[in-house]
């Protein structure tokens, strides 16, 4: 009778433990009342070869976990920021189309430069630099003069046309988010 009871308790214990092993592997810590606390899980595993074996098998399965493409987050954030202005930005920027992940359906990159703030910034620098040369920058001009003229002209551009490089959208955005957006640039 006692053996029967013991066996039944152990079976229930194993089932509950096995139900919770995936949470351990995915780094989710139990918080609900119905969940098995970490300490109880460890105590059971120390005593139960079958559940330890199950954990090893689940670890093997976990190693096959697929990851999303590296640029997925950057593209989503760029699209979302492009269509949902921050508090400081004006409304109404058109939403770019989906940038498909299938290479054969990919839009030409040149047509989308403006949708990517970092790429747009690079184009802006290039355009302003070319403008300086066209407006009288001379070979003899010193670096300080050129830089001062560049700063003045680029400030004017940012102020006049918020769309250029999406400047207002990036106000107050952290370095991490900017890095995420830059990560979305195709090499």
């Amino acid at each position: 009778m006692n053996h029967e009871r013991e066996g039944r308790d152990k079976a229930i214990g194993c089932e509950r433990v096995r139900e919770h092993l995936p949470l351990r592997l995915s780094g989710v810590h139990p918080s609900g009342a119905s969940e098995v606390p970490d300490a109880d899980l460890d105590a059971h595993l120390a005593d139960c070869a079958e559940c330890t074996d199950e954990l090893a098998f689940l670890e093997l399965l976990s190693a096959s976990r697929p990851s999303p493409p590296a640029h997925l987050a950057a593209r989503v954030v760029a699209r979302a920021l492009g269509s949902r202005p921050l508090a400081s930005g004006p409304a109404g920027v058109d939403d770019p189309d989906v940038v498909p992940f299938r290479a054969s359906r990919r839009a030409p990159q040149w047509s989308r430069w403006w949708a990517n703030p970092a790429a747009a910034a690079a184009v802006l620098v290039l355009a302003v630099g070319m403008g300086l040369v066209a407006r009288g920058g001379t070979p003899g001009q010193d670096g300080g003069t050129v830089l001062a003229a560049f700063d003045a002209q680029s400030a004017e551009l940012w102020a006049e046309d918020w769309l250029v490089a999406g400047a207002p959208y990036l106000d107050g955005v952290s370095d991490e988010t900017l890095a995420l957006l830059v990560a979305g640039i195709d090499p």
Binding site: R18, E19, P22, L23, L25, S26, G27, V28, S31, G32, E54, F57, L58, L60, L61, S62, A63, S64, R65, P66, S67, P68, P69, L72, A73, R75, V76, V77, R79, A80, L81, S83, R84, P85, L86, A87, D95, V98, V99, P100, F101, R102, R105, Y169, L170, G172, V173, S174, E176, T177, A179, L180, A183
Partner: protein, 188 residues
Amino acid sequence: MTLTSRFPEDDDRILVAGARDGDADALAELVQRHQGVLFRFLLARTGDEDQAADLAQDALVKALRSLPQFRGDSSFRTWLLAIARNEMLGRHRKEGRRKEQGLETGMEVADDRPAPGQALETQGEVDRVRRLMDRLPEKQRLSVWLRLYDGLSFREVAEATDSTEGAARVNYFHGIRKLREWADESRT
């Protein structure tokens, strides 16, 4: 890259509120936090990485745009998975119509490509396991993936797979049992 410094790890409500108010960092963190489970959910259902990534992109953007409509009755993750499921069904309906009209759909058949980024020495074993996973019936595969890869509760698994909590639990255990049997068979 992790963006967790400003935000509590297990609570999406602050992120949702921030993103709704136009906080770009909160929005980026929400995307970072949930892109993985969304991509895997769609991959488990479509069997195609490109298609899963396209659908995940659309579903995430749609969810972020619809944040003002998110009432918080369910978790943000559950809500996102429901949007992804609708997005996928909508895409399938469109593709079905195109097929009926005799047009090229552009959809690809699932393949056995290995998951990228795995350590070389375990790649063979990982490939083998992935192929075994692909043999599971869809609901069992989804239950195993969502529970094992992303730690969803059985209630969340049930909502994502349009089944009951009990069925999600049974599907998970049956899936794991079959995988173990197949793994043992392939070793002998």
